[in-house]
């Protein structure tokens, strides 16, 4: 293992590796690294499939877990959409799944809130954070930078298993007497701190907090590993400015996570103390359940600050990997270099930096000083600039391209559309004066589902379709992919666009029913329309599920480089081997985007191809 992550013995941009003691990571005497790795193939199945330390297997474990969690969360959303469209109506299916929480098929209001809460938690953390980063950072970081594996395979394995435990606890919280956490995915205290406030704030909330603690540990183990790997294990010639944008995105995402998740953890720990140990970090002057609480001096606003200090970077932790994946897929399938490579890196970094100083835009009306509000208005609106740059760069990449419409490419284009639509409504919300009237309404729900939910899910799907051949050595069916894309694309705007109007009509979010208010009577049919699209969209995901599992076993066998791509992962053998490359690691000579060079016949040029005689590296 000591020489596992060696760097090839070649003279290169990084200096003469062999004679440089700093880089002497391989053992001269045994020369094992050349063929050492094939020996590992006869592993016990537990070591191979369960407690694997191989990044490719861990990536698949993450993906499978995320798919299971995604199906659960999606099913929950169809349940509460039924209630919203036809409030109080009996649906026997609800009783089948929810039992006492839907007596006679009518959803219980507490269960409604529980479904909304766990749906949000699972989607944001388990599908779009764990699922997206876990799957693709693991798969692509070593493969695209030319490393044998992650810096620490062991920590990587731990990261997955913490994620698994965390997922299991979250799901298990559905099976307890008082039901799962129900205070919304942001679990603001005192609602979440006091079991007297709602049934979900009892054991369910404890399990939520325990689950999130494991999640943060998992995320930190994963993130540190990604950062170290990208910094230290790039192969010869893989300068930072030659990295594919996927790696840049995963790298910056990992940094965001490492800096912000600990803050969530502290918020969670303080909440646990308030709940169980009589402290009052978040509690003061509370009279509930016929009784005045002793705790005093705390502030729920402290929790909001801590939560959103993670919460806002978190939305970019979700989005940046999707944008990175899109950059790669758009360039490959446009057969064109990504437009403005350096501007793309610059925007990723700018977005990451700004995302740490905007959290207050979630708290404009918590009573914060209006002056402080203005500061957050300013910083928040700044973030729209790098976001706009990214969009323009994607669109110009398409200009005069030669687009190959693989299902992955369709999802990547879909992401560009949803990112535009959702980003623009962010500008409304960022304006504190306007936020007063739409905060905590369906307008916010529309905004973040389009900009984050849809975009990141599209990035996830795009990645799965694109790298499926790399994961399973087989191809997914393209026709089913097309059907899946169009149905999903129709559902996304069908579900989320009308929600803007609900919000502008004043409908608050997390309402069990809007029937209590006469002013909303003429909006019920909008809810019916939305629910129809939601059910349609949910059914469409079965097309994907079928395609995924079928292709895993029976899809046509993939060739080594099915999309004619430049990046290093396509230079590895189709069948997975421990250590990724037979023989020496590849050496990189150029950036990742030499597509359709005018001086070449082929429309692609892998990063491993040496510069031609007299060729200067493309300015980028």
């Amino acid at each position: 293992m000591s020489n596992f992550n060696e760097i090839p013995k070649e003279t290169s941009a990084l200096g003469n590796v062999k004679n440089d003691p700093e880089h002497k990571l391989y053992d001269d005497e045994s020369h094992t690294y050349l063929n050492d790795h094939d020996d590992h193939d006869e592993q016990h199945w537990i070591e191979k499939y369960v407690f694997s330390t191989d990044h490719k297997m861990i990536s698949k474990q993450y993906l499978l877990t995320a798919i299971v969690m995604g199906v659960i969360a999606m099913t929950m959303s169809t349940f509460f959409r039924l209630q919203l469209a036809w409030p109080g109506k009996a649906f026997p299916i609800l009783e089948v799944f929810l039992g006492k929480w839907a007596p006679g098929g009518v959803l219980d209001p507490n269960m409604y809130l529980a479904l909304v809460t766990i749906h949000g938690t699972i989607m944001v953390f388990f599908v779009l954070t764990g699922g997206l980063s876990g799957t693709f950072s693991n798969l692509l970081i070593p493969l695209q930078i030319g490393a044998r594996d992650m810096a620490s395979g062991f920590l990587n394995m731990l990261s997955y298993w913490f994620f698994f435990i965390s997922s299991a606890i979250m799901v298990a919280s559905f099976f307890i007497e008082t039901g799962p956490a129900s205070g919304g995915w942001t679990v603001y205290p005192p609602l979440s701190a006091l079991p007297q406030a709602m049934p979900g704030s009892g054991l369910g909330m404890t399990l939520w907090l325990v689950s999130m603690t494991f999640f943060v540990i998992s995320s930190l183990l994963g993130g540190l590993n990604y950062i170290v790997t990208v910094i230290n294990l790039r192969t010869v010639g893989m300068k930072m400015t030659r990295l594919p944008l996927t790696i840049w995105a995963f790298f910056v995402t990992a940094i965001l996570g490492v800096l912000s998740f600990p803050v969530l953890l502290s918020a969670v720990v303080l909440l646990i103390m308030d709940r169980g140990f009589g402290t009052s970090f978040y509690l003061s002057d509370i009279f509930i359940g016929g009784q005045a609480l002793e705790q005093s001096g705390g502030s729920p606003i402290l929790y909001e600050h801590l939560f959103w200090f993670l919460g806002h970077p978190e939305v970019y932790i979700v989005l940046l990997p999707a944008l990175g994946i899109t950059s790669e897929i758009v360039a490959t399938n446009s057969r064109k270099p990504i437009f403005g490579y350096r501007a793309m890196i610059g925007s990723i970094i700018a977005i990451a930096f700004l995302s740490f100083i905007v959290w207050g835009h979630h708290m404009f009306i918590t009573g914060m000083s209006p002056f402080l509000g203005s500061v957050f208005v300013f910083t928040t609106l700044l973030i729209a600039i790098p976001s706009a740059v990214k969009v323009f760069n994607y669109i110009s990449t398409l200009w005069k391209s030669n687009i190959q419409y693989t299902p992955a490419m369709l999802f990547a284009v879909g992401l560009v559309s949803t990112f535009i639509t959702g980003g623009l409504t962010g500008i409304i919300l960022a304006d504190s004066a306007l936020d007063i009237n739409v905060h905590d309404t369906y307008f916010v729900v529309a905004h973040f589902h389009i900009v984050m939910g849809a975009s990141a899910i599209f990035g996830l799907f795009a990645g799965v379709y694109h790298w499926f051949p790399k994961m399973f050595g087989r191809m997914m069916n393209k026709t089913l992919g097309y059907v899946h894309f169009w149905a999903t694309m129709i559902a996304v705007y069908g579900v989320f666009f009308p929600m803007h109007f609900l919000g502008l009509a004043g409908v608050p979010r997390r309402y069990y029913s809007i029937e209590a208010f006469e002013m909303f009577n003429n909006l019920v049919d909008i809810n019916v329309l939305i629910t129809c699209f939601a059910i349609f969209g949910a059914l469409a995901q079965f097309v994907f599920l079928f395609n995924y599992f079928y292709s895993m076993y029976k899809g046509p066998v993939a060739s080594a480089n099915p999309w004619k791509s430049n990046t290093l992962e396509w230079t590895t053998p189709v069948e997975h081997i421990h250590g990724n490359w037979h023989g020496a690691l590849p050496v990189v000579h150029r950036w990742a985007y030499d597509y359709s060079r005018p001086d070449l016949e082929n429309d692609f040029m892998p990063q491993t191809s040496p510069l031609l005689p007299h060729e200067a590296e493309a300015a980028h």
Binding site: I93, V96, P109, L113, G183, Y188, P189, P190, L191, A197, M198, S284, I286, S299, I301, R335, G340, I365, P370, V377, L381, A384, I385, A388, V389, L398, S401, Q404, Y405, L410, V413, S417, I420, A433, L434, I436, N437, T441, N477, K478, I490, F501, A505, G506, P508, R510, Y511, Y512, S513, E518, M519, I526, F546, K554, P556, Y593, P598, D603, A618, A619
Partner: protein, 337 residues
Amino acid sequence: MVKLIIVVLALAFYAMWQLMNVYNLSRKMKGTLSENSTVKDNELQGKLFVVYFAAFFAFVAWQLIEYGPRLLPESASEHGKITDWLMNLNLIIIAIPFVITHLFLAFFTWKYSGKNGQKAVFYSHNNKLEMIWTIVPAIVLTVIIAYGIKSWNTITALPTEGMQEIELYAQQFNWTARYAGADNKLGPNNYLKIEGANELGILMDSTTSQDDKIVKGEMHIPVGVPVNFKMRSRDVIHSAYMPHFRSQMNCVPGMSTQMHFTPTITTAQMQAKLKNPKFKYVLLCAKICGSSHWNMQMDIVVDTPTDYKKWLAEQKTLAETLLAPAPADSAVVVAAK
């Protein structure tokens, strides 16, 4: 039932599986078993994007026509006019890039779909262009920021005089409004004093408290007078949302928040404007607060100042409701003597 669902799903899955086998076999025999996109695929998908984006625009337009009139009626508060104006300005500003970028997206996805013999143009960057599209959004955003912050400052600035102060007290799952009495001062409170009828924990030994008045279910406010709401919460965070007045503020336990506005249209006037005699202004809770979060409401009646004074005079003071010994009891006491 669960078993039935599982069986049906499993059968459907199995049938699909077999169908796919047959389909792949036939493609194999025809020699077309490839999952790369063909020129035909590219052409079709390119066209579908145009159709899709056209349909999307039509859908958006349809919603504007169909749902637009169902949005909130004209603002019933002074600052709400600023809010609405700013909202319209911002909506127009964001509609422009929304349309333009989607037009480009639709055009490019169709025009440059992959064809035989077509080669993409190697074009990796253009500093001038990139500079332009960094600076233009920056300028537009400066405008948005400037107007936004200016409006925010106007809206949040407290009027210096003539304010009517009202306390809004939130609890699971209802609202209480407390009006200062003749002295125009709200009496002090402490949550430890919450007991029985003294739901707000008012310190009754203070004289400022005794003339205060409490109402539930419906509160009145005067038109044309700045009203300042002082908010408190008894248990969890709530949010006092008054959409018709473009106002919202969180009610946070352990903390006092405030929000003010000047109503401009009385309930009667609004009913006439909307030709809806049943129209009511309402106060909703917008922050998730428990099982009846969705039904935590209070009606708001905007009166002319004279009606308002009359209404307020009719309400009982705390001294009357909390301090006065109940008449029946005193009779018993007298009799015992």
